[in-house]
């Protein structure tokens, strides 16, 4: 085994050393398939290794900490909580939607791309809307900006539809409940 051969390598953090035969089957497999450039391994320097080890541990620790103690707010290290809450098999499913009455009198379910806020985003901020219904005016304003050719929303309301489950199965018709409503004027 050669300790240190002259550096022929490319990057600042790397030097070329002869392939360590002890480093196993994998590199051997590569050598067999190497088109050109021979059998040298582009190795990391000691500093390069340490830096990478530190970065790996740091991100790993942040991810683990975020999963155990964090919230969505801690993105990108927050918990991966998609579908992580448990729903009671005999409980209710809450499904939120935004409804609007536009200046032509039409009542519509506001589509995701109409106001710049997706349904889940409205759900995420629903406590703020309930506390301050005038914030829904901003939703109407965003719609005006995104779709200046469409009639304005004169009324915006957040409606939750409740579906009863029994033994994990939906029973009966969903029941609607208006959580918060705003109207212009």
């Amino acid at each position: 085994m050669h300790p240190l051969l002259p550096v022929v390598g490319s990057g600042r953090l790397s030097r070329r050393v002869p392939r360590d035969a002890g480093r196993a089957s994998y590199a051997a497999g590569v050598a067999a398939g190497t088109v050109a450039g021979g059998t040298d391994v582009d190795a990391l320097t000691v500093a390069g290794r340490r830096g990478r080890a530190a970065a790996t541990l740091l991100v790993g620790a942040l991810l683990l900490g975020g999963t155990l103690f964090g919230q969505d707010d801690d993105f990108p290290f927050g918990p991966f909580r998609m579908y992580s809450t448990r729903d009671d098999p005999d409980g209710q499913v809450r499904s939120t939607r935004v409804e609007a009455v536009d200046s032509s009198g039409r009542v519509l379910v506001v589509p995701d791309r109409a106001t710049g806020l997706r349904r889940a985003e409205v759900e995420g901020q629903v406590d703020r809307f309930v506390a301050d219904p005038s914030l829904l005016a901003e939703v109407s304003r965003a719609h005006d900006r995104l779709h200046p050719d469409e009639p304005s929303y004169e009324v915006v309301r957040v409606v939750v539809s409740l579906t009863q489950l029994r033994d994990s199965r939906p029973v009966g018709e969903p029941v609607d409940e208006v959580l918060v409503s705003w109207s212009r004027g």
């Binding site: 990057g11 790397s14 480093r23 196993a24 089957s25 994998y26 590199a27 497999g29 590569v30 050598a31 067999a32 398939g33 088109v35 582009d42 190795a43 990391l44 390069g48 290794r49 990478r52 080890a53 970065a55 790996t56 991100v59 790993g60 991810l63 999963t67 155990l68 969505d72 707010d73 801690d74 993105f75 990108p76 927050g78 918990p79 991966f80 909580r81 579908y83 992580s84 809450t85 448990r86 729903d87 009671d88 098999p89 409980g91 106001t115 710049g116 806020l117 985003e121 995420g124 901020q125 914030l135 901003e138 939703v139 304003r141 965003a142 995104l146 579906t163 994990s168 199965r169 939906p170």
Partner: protein, 279 residues
Amino acid sequence: MRWMASPLPAARIAWLRVVAYAFVPVDLLLTTPWVFDHAQVPGALYQPLRIGRLLPLPTPGPWVTAFGLALAAAGAACAVLAARRRLPSWAGWLVALAYLQWMVVAFSYGKVDHDRIGYLVLLAVLPTVGRVGLRDRTPSEAAGWAVRATALAVVATYALAAVAKIRFGGWDWVDGATLTRAVVRRGTAFSEPLLDHTWVLHAFQYVLMGVELLVAPLLLVRWRREQVTWVLTAGFLAFHVMTFAALTIVFLPHCVALLALLPLERLGDRRPRRRLVPA
């Protein structure tokens, strides 16, 4: 650390660069174009994530449109440069940082998506390898580390998602009605019939938990038979396709990161058959 940095062909990184950077315009313009809408949302509805409060990031406004278009163009340019072995590392760092800013614009309005960590790690590690070509088979420890870091992030997404289910849903998450709720809320023609057979959804919650905790870590094993990695990776990709069919949710950025596990360097082979063990 020995495992993390055991060498992989440099060309793997070149191919991953092409795929990952080409995905930037796809993500921005095609698959999640709603982020651009936040340019028109009044600032009162901007609820910055912690990272957006710690760093002096600007409140989204009309600048978001230009920023997004520039980022999409930069991603496309990086993909082309990477294929020609001319991508400077600063450009890779710039794309990684700009994409992180884009994520803050995307997720600071009340909803965070959970499909990004693998892709964010991939964007962050790609510039740590020097300039490499699509046919460069030199075994590289830097390439090995970059691929393993991405693989760890991908596997962590699964395993920590299971941990989150236990944290938020409790040990009896598997016996809850979570998937029923998911189908009630956003079911499709494929999944809605299952509401008449909810035992399938119930059983699948056990499968899901088992796969996330026990099967996903197998992606990190260097199998003697490389087919095992192919089958595992294909299995997880199929899972994401199935989720899309059932709930119209697709973890596309995560799927891009998943590709790091495959021996992409073979795409550069003239002769197709060469024995190589994947990561």
